[in-house]
């Protein structure tokens, strides 16, 4: 129990500034407090510190203007991705036959299915990572709270349904007269309720928190690299908004067609994958130089 408490003290105290973290841990060691007392003390300090940060107006602007819209947009896309993936998963998992393995066509089909699902999931991971990166770059000290709040927004989005504005009406007006061919899949509670949660957790929540941790480091990079990263992040998040069902509905079909066929859209579709390039470059340069700032100094 005591060991667990001290482990928690160590984890919680990381939410403090590095210098204060050292001073507080030193004070606790010197005063010979029990693990429980130390944990209570550190928690109290962290809560006070976080509460002080929220007295400023900026975190509230980020919460309302960035976090909630991004969380909702990611929830919508995550739900759509879960829907498409569920169809393929059901096809293989619920209709499995070992005899299939002997057919070459099965392997071709499996390869195509995996490639299709991967290409649906990768942009979602990149969007989530970018959203986290943007939030993380705002303030190092507030990131843990941002992480918790962002996960709550995601849970809210997936459990209560992220608003799709007029998309529901649009779908209703164009609803098929015959039953949807995928209805049997979503009649199963796992694909209807559990699978979207898993997709949300794995493809959105985890990459977002990862992106936040990376975003914290952005201050160490050179101004030029920061500008490039911000442009890439804005482009990626623009792509997320543009392809969302709510936004598409509001766009006139003429403009939608022009946008989707333009070179700008094709460029944005590539820019979306910038986190992959960024992480690969960071990993390579870290291995070569043993520190992150070299991404900014040496790569450009």
């Amino acid at each position: 129990m005591t060991r667990t408490c001290w482990w928690l003290v160590d984890r919680v105290s990381r939410m403090l500034e590095p210098s204060e973290q050292d001073a507080v841990r030193g004070d606790l060691a010197e005063s010979g407090e029990s693990g429980g007392q130390a944990l209570r003390g550190v928690l109290g300090l962290v809560v006070r510190r976080q509460a002080a940060l929220w007295k400023d107006w900026r975190p509230w602007v980020v919460l309302v203007g960035v976090m909630v819209p991004l969380g909702m947009a990611l929830s919508i896309v995550s739900n759509l991705t879960a829907g498409v993936s569920a169809t393929y998963l059901w096809l293989y998992a619920n209709n499995w036959d070992w005899a299939l393995l002997r057919h070459a066509e099965f392997w071709y089909e499996l390869r195509d299915s995996i490639a299709f699902i991967f290409m649906r999931c990768l942009p979602l991971v990149c969007w989530s990572w970018t959203a986290g990166f943007v939030l993380g770059s705002k303030s190092r000290r507030i990131v843990p709270v941002y992480g918790i709040l962002f996960c709550l927004v995601l849970v809210f989005g997936v459990l209560l349904g992220a608003p799709r504005y007029l998309a529901y009406f649009f779908q209703y007006a164009n609803r098929p007269l015959s039953p949807n061919q995928n209805d049997p899949i979503f009649a199963l509670a796992f694909y209807r309720e559990i699978f979207p949660l898993i997709v949300q957790a794995v493809l959105v929540a985890v990459p977002s928190v990862w992106g936040m941790r990376q975003g914290v480091e952005v201050g160490r990079l050179s101004p030029l690299v920061r500008i490039v990263l911000w442009i890439a992040a804005i482009g990626t998040l623009t792509m997320l908004v543009i392809q969302g069902p709510g936004f598409v509905f509001f766009l006139h079909a003429y403009w939608l067609q022009r946008i989707s066929q333009g070179w700008q859209m094709r460029l944005l579709q590539i820019v979306v994958y910038w986190p992959v390039a960024y992480l690969a470059a960071s990993a390579i340069l870290r291995r070569w130089h043993g520190r992150i700032p070299t991404v900014g100094v040496d790569s450009l």
Binding site: R25, G26, E30, S31, L45
Partner: protein, 109 residues
């Protein structure tokens, strides 16, 4: 005007002098008041006092009994001494003619 806890911190720092830092000040306050002093209250109040210019803090050298971790050293500034003196004078003035011992004897069970 200082708050009660701010005054306690300034007094503890002034009493400890060169040895004023987080853990020592907590001990001093707990000994004087007989109440617990949370580390959260201590550090957030220290920040407030520093922002007001009443104390100056800096990171001291690491010591072995603290697991090699540095102390946050505290020194009361001239402005802090002035604020604490005014607070003490105000408390003394407002307490003139009031005997808490006599009142306690009258009110007590």
């Amino acid at each position: 005007m200082l708050g009660e806890f701010e005054y306690l911190l300034l007094t503890a720092a002034a009493r400890l002098g060169e040895d004023a830092y987080g853990a020592a000040m907590r001990q001093e306050i707990e000994d004087a008041t007989g109440r617990g002093c949370s580390i959260g209250a201590l550090y957030t109040t220290l920040d407030r006092l520093e922002a007001k210019g009443f104390v100056k803090t800096w990171m001291g050298d690491p010591t072995p009994q603290r697991g090699g971790r540095p102390k946050r050293m505290v020194r009361v500034t001239a402005k802090g001494i002035q604020a604490a003196s005014e607070f003490y004078a105000a408390v003394t003035r407002v307490s003139r003619g009031v005997s808490w011992e006599a009142n306690r004897a009258g009110v007590g069970p």
